[in-house]
């Protein structure tokens, strides 16, 4: 079920040695497992539990998330630019789904 749409803000061009800033956002309710529904029963937990940022296939930053991360998880982080290539961002859902976004980077 495609319920989580990712959005990424990453530079398209940078110089070697630059430390660039990347922002990512994915729409997801991040159900904590602590809320009760109208029937009084606990709504089961359903969150994004892992976010991974890779460049040319190699992980450079990741986050292990708990239910205390707000709905629509947002992350801002950095990467030191060494070579041109492609970013790949992956979000893992408790239910086994993964969501992905990619972005290319040129090095001047």
């Amino acid at each position: 079920m495609a319920k989580a749409k990712p959005r990424v803000k990453a530079p398209k061009k940078a110089a070697k040695g630059d430390i660039v800033e990347i922002k990512t956002l994915v729409s997801h309710i991040m159900e904590t497992g602590l809320r009760k529904g109208k029937d009084g029963k606990i709504i089961p937990r359903e969150i994004i539990n892992k976010f991974t940022a890779k460049f040319n296939g190699k992980e450079f930053f990741s986050v292990d998330l708990e239910p205390a991360v707000s709905a629509n998880p947002y992350f801002q982080f950095n990467m030191r630019v060494e070579e041109p290539g492609e970013f790949e961002f992956v979000w893992n859902d408790d239910d086994g789904s993964t969501y992905t976004a990619k972005s290319k980077l040129k090095v001047t």
């Binding site: 430390i19 660039v20 904590t32 602590l34 809320r35 460049f55 190699k58 992980e59 450079f60 930053f61 990741s62 986050v63 292990d64 998330l65 708990e66 239910p67 205390a68 991360v69 707000s70 709905a71 998880p73 947002y74 992350f75 801002q76 982080f77 950095n78 990467m79 030191r80 060494e82």
Partner: protein, 149 residues
């Protein structure tokens, strides 16, 4: 009246202490936070300094509180921040997130938005590549709690 045996006196004392504990939720949350830090550091005491938590002093909405963590480091393969554990010591469960860095991160800095159930401390514990740990703490006052009522 016969004298209490040592065992009876201890049991009586323990019962009195248990009854007099107030705010049990808060006591458990603080215990959990300490236990999580100990598990993360393998029992080592984190040092102070070098870790900055940027968070609002007062958060209007506990459902989405912006926080930034920054750890001083050149982030070279010889000396870098491996990961930072983020805890909220007054939430039903203190664990919030762990940021995992590599030298390629360039900077040991990251931001996110978190849920805070009420006024409490956000704690950040950084693990360095040399096996040492550093921590910082920031209090955030919360006007509307973020646990969905």
């Amino acid at each position: 009246m016969r004298e209490l045996s040592r065992r009876q006196a201890l049991a009586l004392g323990a019962a009195v202490v248990t009854i007099s504990v107030v705010g049990i939720d808060t006591a458990f949350a603080a215990e959990d936070t300490k236990a999580m830090i100990d598990k993360f550091t393998g029992g080592k005491a984190p040092g102070e300094g070098g870790v900055t938590i940027s968070a609002p002093e007062i958060a209007e909405n506990g459902n989405t509180v912006p926080i930034s963590i920054s750890v001083d480091s050149d982030m070279t393969p010889d000396s870098y921040v491996k990961r930072v554990l983020i805890l909220a010591d007054g939430n039903p469960r203190p664990g919030v997130a762990t940021f995992n860095f590599t030298p390629a991160s360039g900077k040991a800095e990251a931001s996110t938005r978190i849920r805070l159930a009420k006024t409490q401390n956000v704690v950040a514990v950084a693990e360095m590549s040399d096996g040492s740990f550093k921590q910082a703490m920031a209090q955030v006052k919360v006007t509307i709690g973020g646990c969905g009522g």
